[in-house]
Symmetry: C2
Subunit: 295 residues, 2 copies
Amino acid sequence: MSKLLNVLLVGGTHGNELTGIHLVKRWQSLPDEIARQGLKTELLLSNEAASKLNRRYIDADLNRQFSLSELKDSELSSCEALRAKEINELLGFKQTPSQDFIIDMHTTTANMGVTLVVNGDSELALKVAAYVQSKDPGVTIMHQQVNRDDDNFLISLGKFGGIVVEVGPVAQGLLNAEIFEKTRLTVQAILDFLSLQQLTEVVLPKKISAYQFIEKIKLPENENGDLVGMIHPKLQNRDFQPLKQGDAIFLLQTGETQYYEGLPNCVAAFINEAAYYDQHHGFSLLKPVQLQLTN
Amino acid sequence: MSKLLNVLLVGGTHGNELTGIHLVKRWQSLPDEIARQGLKTELLLSNEAASKLNRRYIDADLNRQFSLSELKDSELSSCEALRAKEINELLGFKQTPSQDFIIDMHTTTANMGVTLVVNGDSELALKVAAYVQSKDPGVTIMHQQVNRDDDNFLISLGKFGGIVVEVGPVAQGLLNAEIFEKTRLTVQAILDFLSLQQLTEVVLPKKISAYQFIEKIKLPENENGDLVGMIHPKLQNRDFQPLKQGDAIFLLQTGETQYYEGLPNCVAAFINEAAYYDQHHGFSLLKPVQLQLTN
């Protein structure tokens, strides 16, 4: 048997997403649930300062602080930039990481069910996603093209990458038992696979269906930059459904509807994500892609 | 015709409840929608400091600052205590108010639909509630027994009282078009009635069904006071449904279920309200009551 795979389970990277925080606490008291042959599993609450205040972050989004250049930049001094450097040091530095694979648990206010976010070309992360999707076809995979050094997500600290488990819809600042259970079972399935592939050859599909991020779409603003509309009720909850030109996307304060006129063959996700409101973003636009597995 | 009734519409008393804030902004640009014969209607954003930061409050809940003794207490200096005094002055002081009736728009993360909160013995507020419920039997009325001087809600500044319009479920920090529309139509119906009763005798039911607050019920905690459970999936979304002894109410981290063993003939409301988490409250317990109208 090969040496143990070091797996890190992270909660609270966004301090008001309680599900991951309470799963970490659960597993601190029930370690057997995350114990697997071939794995050494550790737990981390990544932004306790923010979670104590029930805020997404104190100064800046922690999950945008982990590019190599940011980690090396001694000028950066926001609460989260400092915390990112602390975590980087704790995990043996991005270039010589002690953790092989990182699972970062998030929630969204959007109706995205269980979504797995894979960054860059991490073969292990793609395999994890393929395995979980093969067990539950309702799971969606999002893929972001980025190289490991530039990747500013916490999961980029993993030697073989990592995966974001993003589950919704659930409001910030509370626990929903159904979302909690979906997240718990998804992480369990990931650990099952990581253990299994340590012990044996796992047969996986050669291709997986995923979505690639194109851009965030702004909510309607007036000339002063004030928000003057909201997600149209016909778009609400339709994450990962086909978005066609002419579909209603925004409802203005005046009662008028705005229609989608962008690229064809796309879908929307993070529809009405509360964390998008600070920048007045309404949703993300994504395109379907097929990803190749090389195993 | 009697003199004009001064009606104040308030949004953003809790700074992360966006619906009321955006309804105030809507009506600032579409004043005809809230214009009614016999009424002089004004608009107020009550806690802009908190809403700019997308927080419920800066230092303390603004909607607990309006008792006469707190308004007179020069020692109180939290951001919200000062804002309450400012609003009190703006509205001509609690004992000599310039506003006859106040409508304060709130949202909840609980599945409470449209709930109208009436405090004390305001006859006009009870009539408003009776009228709105007669137009839409799905509307729930909550009644809190408190005298006007002790009442710490913003609506207690109204000469003839006021009403809280509480609509959910919607997450904090975002707009949901359906919740927005329900709130808009409820406020319109309230204004319709206030106008109508200025002009003519309105026939209303002599009795209305409502719920009276008993107590808040704590979420499960361990000996250190840490949260170790959540709302049971069988209780989630069952606001204002009968709560029977032996019904599942909490799911512990360990997987165990806790059951209701309290008073009979009660209902739960504010089930899984995000704003309750700071005090580890799971829901409010209420009892059904019949309220008499004296008209």
